[in-house]
Amino acid sequence: MQLSTFQDGFSAALRGQAVHAPWLSALEAQPGFAVYRNTVLKGCIDALQASYPTVCQLVGTDWFRAAAAVYARVQPPRDGLLMDYGDGFAHFLDQFAPAADLPYLSAVARLDRCWTECHLAADATAVGRDWLAQQAPHTLPQVPLRPHPAARWAWCDAHPAYALWQHHRAGLALPDALDWSGDGSLLTRPNAEVTWRPLPRAGAAFLDACAQGLPLEAAATRALETEPGTDFAALMGSLLDAGALTLTDSRAG
């Protein structure tokens, strides 16, 4: 038998697909076949549980692992970098019928994913308030600021996703009177570890604009159009303190 024929049949059988071949039936009939099938599925589920701890806290381990098993069958890993597996899990939860009673779950999952991406992203030198103070006023409007490679941000219109996420992450009880309105968040890695803070809608619009390549003045205009009355100087200070911004040529490699 060709090696590729063996691997086509064996991998299909591991995924539970019916393949009618006597040699494969002889393998599947042995108790040891389940060891491989269980290990493959467990590897996927464990990776998802490690990457989506807040979702797991919200729904409980049994519910989470059952949902993760469904996801793993629909979207198996593409490579061995399991720490980065599951980028489609939030979208999957949006469509997952058993999660219909938890409409905020996918927004919380997006923040867990933001954490993973922030954790794994490239290093770069962030600009701070001292950098801003050194800029000549006439050149500042055209400065090409970009989000730091590790910066991730999210705005959720419908749910206080960040409030839910950060209370669970911090192991805190939710406030009795949680204001059920949309909120935003910013995750950065200023001192090697992932940190997070609330982000106003204007801040998310500003970072979106920077990511699209807009220079400072145009990005600031987007922020103010999104949320008129924003104290832009305060927003800018908060982003600089978080290490959310970098210059286009400042990748540390």
Binding site: L3, S11, Q30, P31, G32, G80, M83, L120, A121, A122
Partner: protein, 286 residues
């Protein structure tokens, strides 16, 4: 540090980073799965570099899929080579198994029939990997759970042929031998007698447990328990023949306190020291 100075090592776990960094046991080294460090940047790489600044490190890959009937993924290989350049590992190893097939990763180390064609393909994949990494790698004997028809080669002969064709080294996992011998009904001692010990650059020891459904009839290479006495006994017979070989205690689940792992590691360290004493020519080299 040259590999011959390494004695017993441990798998590096994030829970133990701090203690691992500051541990100064003689001969100690740390092994990691490169897949956990193939990030673009960030704290994982920073921690690995901090460990590497104080200790020898080995890279033990689990996803190169050398026994797939396809070349190893070029992008993955390039990233592995970049990591190896960054941490200058004492040893780079992989498995005689496959895990990636047609763009899908199956997180396990999967078996295959050891045919003549498989030997050619795997030798080619190992050679390609060694070319990119610009160093020999060590290939690990896998754990077996299935009787597969159609082998042209005994595993020990297959491994010897890979060594002969590619210049690769071998990683002898003694627990895998014990578990496979039990599951497939062969004699571990006979297997080890036939193993090409001259090529062994590293030894793995780990714990196993009985299958929850089938009990003692099926052992699982679970890395979730201390090394079993039967595996220690086989190990001591091996190093009596090979002399000291860098030896890793693998523990991936039910992780005990750092001190408990170090105590198990020290047992291997003492066995290696005894093997060195028994081989005066080796002692003279160190």
């Amino acid at each position: 540090m040259a590999p011959h100075l390494l004695t017993a090592g441990l798998g590096l776990k994030p829970q133990h980073y701090g203690e691992a960094l500051h541990c100064s046991a003689p001969g100690l080294w740390w092994e990691v799965h490169p897949e956990n460090y193939l990030a673009d940047g960030g704290p994982r790489l920073a921690w690995l570099e901090a460990i590497r600044a104080r200790h020898p490190v080995a890279l033990h890959g689990v996803s190169l899929s050398l026994a797939a009937d396809a070349p190893p993924d070029a992008a993955h290989l390039a990233r592995l080579a970049a990591l190896a350049k960054r941490v200058e590992p004492a040893i780079v190893s992989e498995h005689l198994a496959w895990s990636t097939w047609r763009g899908q990763y199956l997180p396990d180390l999967l078996p295959f029939p050891r045919t003549h064609a498989a030997l050619r393909r795997i030798a080619d994949n190992i050679a390609r990997t060694q070319d990119v990494l610009q160093r020999p790698i060590a290939i690990e004997n896998p754990t077996h759970y299935l009787h597969i028809d159609g082998h042209d080669w005994a595993e020990t002969e297959f491994l010897a042929a890979l060594v002969q064709r590619t210049g690769c080294a071998l990683l002898l996992d003694v627990n895998n031998v014990h578990v496979s011998a039990h599951n497939l009904g062969f004699c571990a001692q006979t297997y080890l007698d036939a193993f090409p010990l001259h090529a062994v650059a590293e030894i793995h020891l780990a714990g196993h447990h009985a299958d929850p459904v089938h009990g003692d009839a099926l052992l699982i290479d679970s890395h979730d328990a201390p090394v079993a006495p039967a595996v220690w006994a086989l190990y001591e017979q091996v190093i009596a023949r090979t002399g000291p070989v860098p030896t890793l205690i693998e523990r991936d689940e039910h992780l005990p306190a750092f001190g408990e792992l170090m105590a198990e590691r020290d047992q291997a360290h003492r066995a290696l020291s005894a093997a060195r004493t028994a081989q005066p020519e080796e002692a003279a080299c160190s």
